[in-house]
């Protein structure tokens, strides 16, 4: 499943999607920078409510397939611009983290 397909299947809002073709191979949920840095893997859909520039840096570091911001969290304009520059896929959804993870888990089965 690609990041673009994931967005479509779960009706996610697209905040920044420079690489819709990126393959989603797993998932990770976490809201503390250090834990995500230590745990998220390349190709993961990273579900979080973190909403600052660190999201872009960590997604870039871990090379996640996309960031899915839960509970209607958003990045501000400046951070989204950085996400575009760094070519990071950023999606969001009104669903809380647990529900998003369950749905992503089902799609990845």
């Amino acid at each position: 499943m690609t990041a673009g397909e994931l967005a479509q299947e779960l009706s996610l809002n697209i905040l920044c999607l420079p690489h819709p073709e990126r393959e989603v191979t797993g998932g990770f949920a976490g809201d503390l920078l250090s834990w995500v840095m230590g745990g998220a893997k390349e190709g993961d859909a990273w579900v979080t409510i973190m909403s600052n520039l660190n999201v872009v840096a960590v997604a870039s570091l871990c090379d996640t397939a996309c960031v899915v911001l839960a509970s209607d969290t958003v990045l501000d304009e400046k951070d989204l611009k950085t996400a575009e520059e760094k070519e990071i896929n950023v999606l969001n959804s009104p669903l809380p983290e647990f529900e998003l993870c369950v749905k992503i888990g089902e799609l990845l089965k």
Binding site: L32, L33, S34, W35, M37, N52, N54, A57, S60, L61
Partner: protein, 245 residues
């Protein structure tokens, strides 16, 4: 007692997010031009540029304070200040053992440069410095006190590392005598929302990561300065911010 203009939260090129132009000498020189009299270096989870920083401050006639911006286990940022360079370096060793070891990627996060008195790069820190430590917010004040220092939550209003966005409240049961606001104009609003703040010292520092972020001297503290020495002034500063007003 005299008023001293301060900036107690700055970063050098050792913090990955700190610009490489933030050398100890440039930082001290710029702060001196800005009219700052007491300047603390508070890199993320390290004090390894403090030695060079002390030498640079001496050159520019600024009173240096060795410090650190500690990341707690909850990823709350806490400004720690020490009475001597040696105490700051001892605290550095204590924190180093309890840092999360995640490799720094300079191309993403920036370089982590250790410098000597002449701003020469003499080393780098391989681990991503701002990562969480094992030290909890509740443990921090006692650990810092054991090294002779004081600490208080940094930029409490900020989403990244600020205690209020992270915990939803200012912790009433942790013995802080001070707190830092990045934007002093928010003080009345925050005191209204979190009345516990009314009984604490409010510190406003630049959190400069770039030379141009060093602010002109604006905020001052009345400090006991007789008989005058920079060591005495640091002790007065720590007494002032380590005790409720």
């Amino acid at each position: 007692m005299n008023p001293y203009y301060y900036d107690l939260h700055t970063h050098s090129a050792l913090s990955p997010c700190g610009d490489n132009a933030m050398t100890p000498n440039s930082l001290a020189g710029m702060a001196s031009l800005a009219g700052i009299q007491v300047l603390a270096l508070t890199d993320h989870n390290t004090a390894k540029n403090c030695k060079a920083f002390f030498a640079a401050c001496k050159r520019y006639g600024v009173v240096p304070v060795g410090g650190m911006e500690l990341t707690t286990a909850e990823e709350i940022h806490v400004v720690c200040l020490f009475p001597t360079l040696e105490a700051a370096l001892d605290f550095d060793s204590a924190v180093e053992k309890r840092r999360m070891k995640i490799e720094n990627k300079p191309e993403i996060f920036g370089d982590q440069l250790i410098m000597d008195d002449e701003d020469n790069v003499i080393g780098t820190d391989p681990w991503f410095l701002p990562a969480a430590t094992e030290i909890s917010l509740a443990e921090a004040p006692e650990l810092v006190r054991r090294h002779g220092g004081i600490c208080y939550p940094a930029h409490i209003e900020r989403p990244a590392g600020g205690v209020i966005p992270i915990l939803g409240d200012f912790p009433p049961d942790v013995p802080f005598a001070s707190y830092e606001l990045h934007d002093m104009s928010l003080r009345a609003e925050y005191e209204e929302k979190f009345p516990v703040l009314k009984g604490l010292n409010c510190v406003c520092s630049s959190d400069a990561h770039y030379l141009e972020q060093i602010r002109d001297a604006e905020h001052s503290l009345m400090l006991d300065d007789e008989p005058y020495s920079s060591a005495m002034l640091r002790i007065s500063l720590l007494k002032r911010l380590g005790n409720k007003p």
